[in-house]
């Protein structure tokens, strides 16, 4: 029951700050920061418990008990949840700390703290859920928090619009997600993970009628759930809210729109892998969506000039990577990338925030340059983050990204294509990351005098989280290192995905009887599970780095490539070297063009103006949505209101009845002459009619 405190502590601080706002004001962090750190501490404890083979699953209370429908609020902590817990609470703690400095003096200081605490609670409720409805609860709540935080500076029109957009696009995704949940309930009759995952296999051949065609129910479920992931993880078609969300303060960009909330989609797909695994079609859709998003985001990121936008598009692109990984069944790789990405992307955002903070809230990289001398800590941490993102050995991104690429390589014909996309994206990623980096810290000094005079290194509360994350960015990747020692990420996460679908042993309303695989795995290798979160990868123990990979595939229907043995190992190294070279060339290109002021980019842009404008304008996707959805909807609504409602229904039909009555009255008025004989005449007429009718019929 101690685990209940993990989400409840942030909730408590939210409530306290919310209720006693008046007395909190600028002291809000005094409650929030300790609470979230305590939550982090508990998460570490929980992680160790899980690693020690004590996963938990229990219900707190029944939420909506109606007949057979008995969803609960419950807590389930398995390996997947535990690693998410760590990520969420760690990043959240650091962001809380960072916020103390970053938001200092802001009018909504207390409000901001309240909301990020609420967000932390919601995100924890999401990942710790043991059923779909609580997942949905967290899912929507994080959306709300994201909304409230984007609109933090509500007086800016852009913030308001961005928040609106974020909420609506998320809601569209949530609609799909909700429908997916409905279908799960309708198919299985339960929303509890354990029950659903255990029973979904029995329905693998069920079909349903979709507008006249028979489709597989499980595919339908998977696709609908994935729509939710598309919305939340800003995948292609529901992606355009994420860059706009950068209107919010930078800490939340780091926390919500990089490290945690946007990864909920990947988390959900991983969590629901027993469903996805059953449907090749769904997996293919997932993989292709992810790959396309990765490419799409990267192409846009190439030309953006707003420092946060670049990072945002890069986030989108990386999320695409993770989704792609899920789509080929490489959940472990996806989750691992999620974790490493959470760390280094949060770092990048926070560092970018530090830059912005230091340079008088300027976000346009064209107006920066030579910032290195003002902020050494930021410089170094950002460098580490950029290296991690670019995928340079030995930083985190290298391991996780290459694992995805490797899994893709092994995933059949389609996988090869995905691999190619992945490599191209990797090149772009390296390029645009260092484009920003060089333009900010080197290049031509385009700062105004005023900016320059205020430029300074950020205070401790800002730099400490940066440093912590930078260290993390350096080491966290080694957890999934495929070369030396055991691949800890696979050892730890693998069992979740490895477990045969029909045997997921989560029992309803009872303590979870998780297979003790994790503990055994660690025990066999003589490993100290308690040290798992710490960066220690150089354990020289011999272990097959792919021990878990086939397992991950075993369940996967899409990634059916068989692989194993020495040949693959060589191949893997070759591919690693290749992608390293690709990333390196990307960095070199950025160096060549942006380290010193250079005409080359402008020339290139001029010669491919169409492409350049397209990328700069996000391939006109906003304009397209505006023209296809927004404006027609508004126009249609207005038209419908004016014509259908006000005129047809109200005036013609409803008031029409009244007017007809009135006209009738006006006509009948003339029969009211006041003369007795007329009345008598009408009576006679009546007699005539009655008698006539009587005789006729």
């Amino acid at each position: 029951m101690l685990y209940v405190l993990i989400p409840l502590l942030p909730l408590f601080s939210f409530i306290m700050v919310g209720l006693f706002q008046k007395w909190m004001r600028n002291q809000a962090h005094l409650i929030c920061v300790p609470m979230v750190f305590a939550s982090f501490g508990l998460s570490v404890y929980a992680f160790m418990q899980v690693a020690g083979g004590n996963p938990v699953n229990f219900d707190l209370y029944e939420w909506i008990p109606v007949g057979d429908f008995r969803p609960t609020f419950g807590i389930m902590i398995d390996q997947l949840t535990a690693s998410m817990l760590l990520l969420v609470t760690l990043v959240s703690s650091l962001v809380h700390l960072y916020t103390v400095g970053y938001m200092h003096g802001d009018g909504g200081y207390d409000r901001f703290f309240a909301y990020i605490s609420l967000f932390t609670f919601s995100m924890l409720a999401l990942v710790m859920s043991n059923n779909f409805l609580q997942l949905f609860f967290g899912w929507e709540m994080v959306g709300l928090c994201s909304y409230l935080l984007i609109v933090h500076w509500y007086e800016r029109k852009a913030s308001t619009n961005a928040s609106f957009k974020a909420f609506i696009q998320n809601r569209v995704g949530d609609l799909g997600f909700a429908l997916g949940i409905f279908l799960v309930w309708d198919t299985v009759g339960s929303l509890d993970y354990g029950t659903v995952f255990a029973a979904i296999g029995d329905h693998r051949n069920d079909t349903m009628n979709l507008l006249g065609t028979q489709v597989n129910v499980v595919t339908m479920i998977a696709l609908l759930l994935f729509v939710g992931a598309v919305g939340k993880s800003a995948q292609f078609l529901l992606h355009s809210w994420l860059p706009d969300a950068m209107e919010g303060p930078t800490p939340i960009s780091a926390l919500i729109h990089a490290a945690t909330m946007v990864t909920a989609g990947i988390f959900m797909v991983s969590r629901c892998h027993p469903i996805f695994n059953l449907s090749e079609t769904a997996m293919m859709v997932v993989a292709l969506t992810g790959a396309f998003t990765a490419l799409f985001g990267a192409t846009i990121a190439l030309t953006q000039n707003d420092i946060k936008k670049v990072v945002a598009y890069s986030t989108m692109s990386q999320l695409g990577y993770m989704v792609m990984a899920c789509g080929i069944g490489a959940y472990v790789a996806g989750m691992f990338h999620l974790l490493t990405h959470g760390v280094f992307k949060a770092l990048l955002f926070l560092a970018a925030g530090s830059v912005i903070h230091a340079l008088s809230a300027e976000q346009d990289i064209r107006k920066m340059g030579q910032a290195k001398k003002y902020m050494p800590t930021t410089y170094w941490t950002m460098l580490w983050g950029s290296l991690a993102l670019a995928g340079i050995f030995p930083f985190a991104g290298f391991f996780s990204k290459d694992e995805i690429l490797w899994e893709a390589w092994n995933a059949g014909v389609m996988g090869k294509g995905l691999w190619l996309i992945g490599v191209i994206v990797a090149f772009m990623t390296a390029f645009y990351t260092f484009r920003v980096f060089f333009m900010v810290f080197y290049g031509k000094d385009n700062m105004t005098d005023e900016m320059r005079s205020h430029a300074h290194e950020s205070p401790r509360v800002i730099t400490i989280p940066l440093v912590v994350l930078a260290v993390g960015a350096l080491f966290v990747g080694w957890l999934g290192n495929p070369m030396f020692g055991p691949n800890l990420s696979h050892n730890f996460l693998g069992p979740v995905f490895n477990t045969p679908v029909s045997h997921v042993p989560v029992t309803e309303h009872a303590q979870l009887q998780m297979p003790n695989l994790v503990g055994e795995a660690f025990a066999e290798e003589g490993h100290d599970p308690h040290a798992a979160p710490a960066p220690h990868g150089e354990d020289p123990q011999a272990a097959d780095p792919h021990a878990m990979a086939p397992a991950a595939h075993g369940a996967a229907a899409a990634g059916g490539a068989e692989h194993g043995g020495g040949h693959n190992k060589t191949m893997e190294f070759l591919l690693m070297a290749f992608s390293l070279a690709v990333a390196g060339s990307g960095i070199f290109m950025a160096y060549a063009w942006y380290y010193r002021p250079n005409e080359a980019p402008a020339k290139l842009a001029a010669s491919y103006n169409g492409l350049y404008q397209g990328s700069l304008n996000k391939w006109y996707w906003d304009e397209l949505y505006d023209a296809v959805f927004v404006r027609p909807t508004v126009k249609f609504a207005h038209g419908l209101w004016r014509v259908a409602d006000e005129i047809v229904i109200d005036k013609v039909l409803v008031d029409g009845v009244a007017i007809t009555t009135r006209i009738g009255g006006e006509i009948l008025k003339f029969f009211q002459t006041g003369r007795v004989q007329h009345y008598a005449m009408v009576m006679s007429l009546g007699i005539f009619v009655i008698l006539g009718g009587f005789f006729l019929f």
Partner: protein, 173 residues
Amino acid sequence: MIEALFIYLATVCVICAVLTVSLRQPVYNVLALLTMFFHVAGLYVLLNAEFLAVVQIIVYAGAILVLYLFVLMLLNVRTQSRHLHRQWPFAVLILGSVTAMLVGALQDGTWGVASGEYTAAAIQEIGNTQAIGLRLYTDYLLPFEVASLVLLVAMIGAIVLTKKGLIDDHIKE
């Protein structure tokens, strides 16, 4: 014989009725009605209702129609250039057809069964007047009293309505 008498009486009744409603001068109307009342009395005699025949003449001819004549003289109403209402053709047409329908319908009706209680012979034996009186003052005593009350009310009403200054002022206001 009786049939001939009936035909005569009925024909005169109808003609007088038509005259009553159609003649221009009110006095002629009254006189036509008077004629009709006499013939109705004749019909009553045909139907063995001698008492009623007498009452018909005394009350209707003697009292009611005389009252009309008094009023006519009292008011001295100008004869109007147009004595018929505009809707008269419709009235004649519609009611004419109604009458036609009724006449058609009533041709061969059988209504009720003779009770045999007051056969012509029985009435003759005790006398028409006594027969009515017996009925009126026994079974119909209460209606009879009510009728007298109606007359009383009518009398008071007539007085109140015609008395100058009682109603007129109100109406004028």
